[in-house]
Amino acid sequence: MEQTKDNANIIELKHVTKRFEDNGYIAVNDFNLEVKRGEFVTFLGPSGCGKTTTLRMIAGFDIPSEGEILLNGKPITSLPPYERPINTVFQRYALFPHMNIRDNIAFGLKQKKISKDVIDKKVKRMLSLVDLEGFEDRSVSTLSGGQQQRIAIARALVNEPQILLLDEPLGALDLKMRQEMQLELKAMHDRLGITFIYVTHDQEEALTMSDKIVVMSEGQIQQIGTPEDVYNEPKNAFVADFIGESNIFSGIMTGRLKVRFCGGEFECLDDLQEGTHITAVVRPEDVELVAPEKGTIRGVVTSVIFKGMHYEITIQSGKNEIVARSTKTARPGDHVGICLDPDGIHVMVAEDHTNTFLVDINKDYRLEYNGNVLDASLTKLIPGGKRQEDGTVVDASGETIDLGRLHIMASIQPGDIEMTDSEEEGLIHGNISNLIYQGSHYLYIIHTDLEQDFAVYDEDLWNMGDRVGLIMPVEKMTFSIRK
């Protein structure tokens, strides 16, 4: 095995981008990651976030459109999969149904023309590693899902790969089996010392097994960190929402280590400048329910669900909904007070969700977006602009403006956009690609037909994938010139 001693990183991804040729869809965007030898790294994110595509680029099934992949410091970006010392455990195992277990496990070794004795010995050792001794002559179809899973792992590990890739390997197993396999995989990793790169959408799985978690969304890395990091110090609202359950509120810094959200002022540990717009994340287990007069804020219990170890209690406080987890029960309609410990409040600078987009100027010199004429004055935008008799617009120097060179940007706040399910209404239509509950409202990301993403606040619950029209009042837009 070739290893460069001065380099502890076994694999590095540098500015890796994957754009699919046929539809131009960007599955992975500017992905940067270093993985140390022997680490257990998990790519975590919802389906379609690009985690599997990233894994496939490491395996060699997909070639990055841009960027570089280094193995032990050497570029392998376009090396075919059969020349990489990397093996994969596939989502649905991909065991060869026309071969018995021995031939499945031996497949990789046979490609390397290893002698039969050695192959037999290695197959035997592998089968004992995965606790399936004596299964050599069984056919794949006679195995249970869990057994197939073990064979798939054995088939990959027998080649002694430098990196083992696992693409949602436990997705097809039932809950109990999954938990068992999690522990076993972790034990196997510790014993063999091979680098594992693991893909899952199950946050619990990621938290249980990984040394390092890479949280992804829409082709981009949201956060890289240890399980503790991403759980306790989520970097943004997406991570907070995706990992564990959270209450997410928007608020503002009101002083040194003081933050206001949800109708109350709380002490916090994050030192941000006063007046900064923030997003506060509070885990349900950090919400303390007290007598109404003792709470920083007050509310009414709206629902109580027994969850075995605890009760999940939902409280309505003004316009905000707060979820708490408590060992003590409550009754719907109870008035309660809520206290939050400073270290239970995670404050992050609010992401600016202002939507900006390019608008067109049509041949009549009117502003236009997606084929709809906007009732806004172009002449007011251009310093000294005047509309001529023939409809053209001239600038201060009297020259007709050049439509090709003048670009107008419009911007609008998420709260000023209204969603509709009517196909006729709205300036543009698109599908909801993401939603995050933020206490008093939901934040929706709408992927439009023009391939742009719009952020919209809405109090009502829509579904992922819903097709909506965006009603954007022209008077709420601000326009600027960009040359």
């Binding site: 395996a59 099934f61 999969p81 989502q91 060869f96 026309h98 497949f107 490609q111 006679t142």
Partner: protein, 271 residues
């Protein structure tokens, strides 16, 4: 249940069986006599079978038909399988174009296929029919699209990760195809081949327009013979029909037997 219905069903069933099989069965019975027409009552005789297996003309015709069927089917199987693999992995636009063109010989009348091939190969390109090129090409055109259609669903059903798994384990693309993909689509290839053989055996039109004048397939031979007046040949063909019928029955019985054994084995394994 209504009694009237329960009687009506088996009756119709038997009637249809008779409609389909009676002519063949009657012919089979008469092939063992020395009668020259149906209806005449004559003695038992094997002379039709003797004629069938000793007349050189008939032997050449039967062997020629079989050689053509297996040869054309083999070429069609290779081409159709490669085509299905290539089309499946090609871009969607190319794939749908190939699938469309592949449908042309399937829906087209064999008369039109045969005639147009004859015009192109013989009239325009001047290839002699005696080279067998037009005939073989014609039969491959007849068969390959069906091989394509038989193989395609197999490829589609196969887990796409199989091929990638083979590459991942160090197999080159060629090895991955020959050791993993081909074995898994084998049932489709085999049934495509079988279908190709039967299509070629049953063809009349393409052969008439493309075959050399001196060469005959069973179909073209029988059609000419029924119009002629040579009774020895005519009754020898009754024997041929009976032999083919017997082979088909044996084949179907064997397939049924195999299927039921597989079923039983599967049941055992499930336990």
């Amino acid at each position: 249940m209504n009694k009237r219905i329960s009687l009506w069903r088996p009756l119709f069933f038997v009637l249809m069986l008779l409609v389909l099989y009676l002519p063949i069965l009657i012919l089979a019975v008469y092939s063992f006599t020395d009668a020259t027409t149906i209806g005449a009552i004559r003695g038992f005789s094997l002379h039709n079978y003797v004629t069938l297996f000793t007349t050189p003309e008939l032997q050449t015709m039967i062997l020629g038909t079989l050689a053509l069927a297996f040869g054309a089917a083999a070429i069609a199987t290779v081409l159709g399988t490669l085509g299905a693999l290539g089309a499946f992995y090609a871009r969607p636009r190319i794939r749908s174009a190939v699938q469309t063109v592949n449908q042309i010989p399937v829906i087209n009348a064999d008369v039109v296929t045969g005639f147009s091939l004859c015009v192109l190969l013989v009239v325009v390109l001047g290839i002699s029919k005696d080279t067998f090129i037009p005939l073989v090409a014609g039969h491959v055109v007849l068969c390959a699209p069906f091989v394509f259609l038989n193989v395609m669903p197999r490829i589609r059903q196969m887990d796409p990760a199989m091929y990638e798994a083979a590459l991942d384990l160090g197999a080159t693309p060629r090895k991955a195809l020959s050791q993993v993909v081909i074995p898994q689509i084998m049932p489709g290839i085999v049934s495509g081949f079988g279908l190709a053989v039967t299509l070629s055996l049953d063809d009349y039109f393409i052969a008439t327009y493309t075959k050399p004048a001196t060469f005959n397939t069973i179909s073209t031979y029988v059609v000419n013979a029924t119009k002629g007046s040579q009774t020895t040949i005519k009754t020898a063909l009754w024997a041929l029909s009976t032999v083919i019928f017997a082979i088909v029955i044996l084949f179907v019985a064997a397939m049924n037997y195999r299927a039921s054994r597989q079923e039983k084995r599967r049941e055992k394994e499930d336990v």
